[in-house]
Symmetry: C2
Subunit: 567 residues, 2 copies
């Protein structure tokens, strides 16, 4: 009689339980043991900010199935049919003997677990910035349910009021909202001069930052934290620019893959960290698999197949499935990610898929990009709201390289369409031609992502000529001699304007008649609310012999700087 | 000096103005004349039900730009630079002379407009069912702004209360909601035995129908209208099953392409109607283009490139762009559609992309399908709501052939991802591997469309074995000897149940212990709320030697028949 295949899984949060569950479904005969250092397994860590915000009442819901059954060792044994050892740490892998030495953390007892296949799903841990004071009371990371629980308890019990968040990435932005909604003051300190520096290009980040400020979040950008000060507990945060009073500090400075167990066993890892895997999630030892936050992913596109460290629960689940399928003898490759991420920031959705303009330029200098703004629904639908989309493409191949979304309108849908397009190697023309669902409650007849693709295609062909808001602002700041041509209606112009002296206002409908008043020997930057009329103005003026005309991408909606209201 | 290119466009609603505007942007020198029979041009006809519902106050908004400028002849001349002739009908094309004979409808004056390129954007017209009474007062079609305006005026002025809608397609469903929200009683009469027969498979249509009934819409399915009765104005609708009192009738029996102008000029048309075009929207006469509702589209997939008549504003706009690009000497092919449609029905979203199961079976008997139900967000997010997804794929190639969505959860996003996937020829494995945006406010870590793809892949590989709700109900109705195995928790079981005698309740967690009580010689159909646990039950029982186990797809959430509550 054949012996049962023994599979040991190290790590029980996302990739681990997914691998174990799927494997038991495919190969009921195999013996699966999942171990984890923590007391709790299989929790939705991404839900922690929403527990802090008060969106749901009980942090245990993150460890429960939708019908309230806790996903613990008993559940996994009874329902999924595998063994779970909590409070158990993997110390060392013996690849010759095919055993893992594990230690029960409460008793200190050690044993050697034999395996036929080993799965490393060891996750990641928060990066600790090299500053003093991290050991003070009321300094939090946001990784496990108990982090969120103790944070909420301390806020309630001791009336914490002043939060400083170190780092303005995903977790910082989500926690800023959560803490503001709990009534705390919030200051985010970010070393880079924009929020979400790994995630969004500057103009998009500036729009998001404007919204955060409107919601009462203080942003200290381009500011470096030197220390956390306090007597036993946090009292302030000292930066290179000053001191910020604080009774609560949240560190969101990114995460680092837990690859030491693999590294110490001689398994290939990336120099910057992260276990290297193939498309079946096998490591350099074919009997050892790895998935989740501890591995390095690959960008899906065959040309730019760069390694990417993007730790996300969605990807961890895909890894788990690929690992189980391969162990069960039903290999399905997982070809890679497009680096898609999305984040709610108060009333805004922030999202990115593929490469930012900055990342794309490093790979290929021949790229083109555009920022587009417009409504997510037909204008006559009262719930219509703006979305801003940035799109980056290759000049050579017309292939989409990345898309970013920011705004109060429905942006996650457009992001997912962009993500799917990237996965399939779409050109901007493909994106424009997608047959997306159209009805007034869901979108305009030409979807925002398609319109953005149109404008980018028009730029690639030299029909549309434009400058980004940042470029326009740079010209203002340099004192360049040019004209801002506002082609909106008189009513619009009265309500809201660019606050500069070089603005000339000619409504689009009058432009063919009045263009004679404009100079042909100066640069003209045309714009409107979203710059669709700005683009028309460029073409009308071009047809009338004006050569030096561009439109300002995204118009006033995508303008991240100050505007003059009401006169 | 070269003469300006003369372009005449027949039809001014969607494809026409799009062609004209784009063409003037690309080729400012050309002379564009757009003619239309109506008084109004360039209106958003899809918005009419929302005006009737009272979502926005002024029907003129459908003819305005977002800043309230009316898109009329003056606007098109001043802003877009082309000529518009309203109340002008195209009577005849002389392809030798390259002229169109047109008649000014108010004066009766005729002239011959010369063209270098002619564009036919003549749209479609409502199908008039062959029944008496269509000429009575208070019978409406819903095609133009004045239809919606007169309908609303009559309801308000004369207190119309009882609406009968003939046809349960898109327009019927949208108008049912609009009229219910205005307080009218609504009966929909549909010849087929389901709503949206061209659009959804029966199980999906039944779920939608259940919701419509909950919202107070009476459905008379499988019922044929024989006549509309009344003395001058509508009093009732007579069907083959009885008489329905009515003071308002809305006919939504589909539309027919206006291809007569082309047909009479000897331009190739489909036998069933619709002008035939190539990928550049050229007709059989290369100087004559056609686009919008008057043409036949092609399905995008190269294998099933069947002709499709799917008239939609979104596609009309794509045609307009393709036509303008080709005339301007910048050809970009428009390769086809995937037949995507979406529709709001009260709190539900109904959508379809690609082929229904029925359509797919006609092309390929070797298909597989699945119905999946689940939450649109992680269960701990209080705004989480269910979506039901049906997916159809080829057994041979694993290619996705179609997807349908129904439910109160966010379904349009998943539909658009499905539509993009179809456009690119995705397999179900591709759909499962898409790197979609994940954060708790936007979706679960494995998106519903990916989970549906997983289940379908599991079916294709014989791991998951399931029956559709319709098949399970058929077995009940036939009196087959089988067991319904409900594996939900006791609390769930107490609240809501399948109302049949053959239901056995064993919570999933107890199944491994209690399975001994189940017979191995009878079919077992396992289910839970959404049948994820039902699937687990199938696998657990399979591993214990039970061969005759299937799960009921979509569980109670996708069960379109009666349930027993609280009993």
């Amino acid at each position: 009689m054949q012996e049962a295949l023994r599979v040991v899984i190290v790590g029980g949060v996302a990739c681990g339980p997914k691998t174990a569950s799927r494997l038991k479904r495919l190969l009921p005969s195999c013996e699966v043991t999942m171990i984890d250092k923590g007391r709790q397994v299989s929790y939705g860590a991404c839900g922690l900010p929403y527990y802090v915000e008060g969106v749901f009442p009980d942090v245990d819901m993150l460890m429960q199935t939708p019908v309230g059954v806790t996903r613990n060792a008993n559940f996994f044994r009874k329902v999924k049919g595998f063994h779970t050892l909590t409070r158990t740490e993997a110390i060392e892998i013996d690849r010759q003997e095919k055993t893992v030495r594990v230690r029960q953390l409460d008793s200190g007892a050690e044993e050697h677990l034999p395996y036929d296949r080993l799965v490393l799903a060891t996750g990641s841990r928060p990066i600790q910035p090299p500053i003093p004071g991290l050991d003070l009371k009321n300094v939090w990371y946001m990784r496990q349910p108990e982090d969120a629980e103790t944070l909420v308890n301390e806020i309630d019990a001791n009336g914490l009021r002043k939060a400083v968040l170190i780092g303005a990435g995903y977790i910082g932005v989500e926690m800023a909202e959560a803490l503001r909604r709990r009534g705390l003051s919030v200051t985010m300190v970010e070393m880079f001069d924009q929020i979400m520096p790994q995630f969004l290009d500057p103009e998009m980040a500036m729009l998001a930052a404007k919204h955060l400020r409107q919601k009462g979040v203080e942003l200290a950008l381009g500011e470096k934290v030197l220390s956390i000060e306090g007597n036993g507990r946090v009292a302030s945060v000292r930066t290179d620019k000053g001191t910020i009073a604080a009774d609560l500090v949240l560190v969101g400075a990114g995460v680092r893959p837990n690859d030491e167990l693999a590294r110490n066993a001689g398994i290939a890892c990336a120099p910057k960290g992260g276990i290297l895997i193939n498309h079946y999630c096998q490591t350099s030892d074919p009997d050892i698999y790895a998935g989740g936050d501890c591995v390095v992913n690959h960008y899906v596109d065959p040309i730019t197949r760069a390694p990417l460290f993007v730790p996300l629960g969605s990807t961890s689940n895909k890894h788990g499935r690929a690992i189980a399928d391969d162990i069960a003898g039903r290999p399905h490759p997982f070809v890679g990610i497009t680096g898609t991420g999305v984040c709610k920031a108060f009333d805004y959705t922030l999202g990115r898929t593929g490469l930012t303009e900055k990342q794309a330029r490093e790979l290929d200098p021949e790229i083109e990009s555009v920022i587009w703004a417009g409504p997510d629904l037909p204008h006559y639908m009262p719930q219509s709201k703006p979305v801003v989309i940035k799109m980056v493409a290759s000049r050579r191949s017309r292939k989409l390289l990345g898309a970013q979304v920011v705004g109060p309108g429905v942006a996650d849908k457009r992001l997912d369409v962009g993500a799917a397009s990237l996965y399939f190697g779409a050109t901007v023309d493909d994106v424009a031609n997608l047959d997306l669902g159209y009805a007034p409650p869901f979108g305009p007849p030409i979807d925002p992502i398609a319109t953005a693709a149109h404008v980018l295609a028009n730029k690639l062909e030299g029909i549309a000529k434009s400058v980004s808001p940042l470029e326009a602002k740079r010209r203002i700041d340099r004192g360049d001699d040019f004209i801002f041509l506002d082609v909106r209606t008189p009513d619009e112009f009265r309500a809201l304007r660019l606050p500069y002296d070089n603005v000339i206002h000619i409504p689009l409908g009058a432009l063919r008649d009045k263009a004679g008043a404009l100079p042909k020997d100066r640069d003209i930057l045309a714009f409107c609310k979203i710059s669709m009329r700005g683009y028309e103005a460029q073409l009308i003026l071009n047809a009338m012999g004006f050569q030096r005309v561009w439109f300002v991408e995204g118009g006033l909606v995508a303008w991240p700087f100050e505007l003059a209201e009401n006169g």
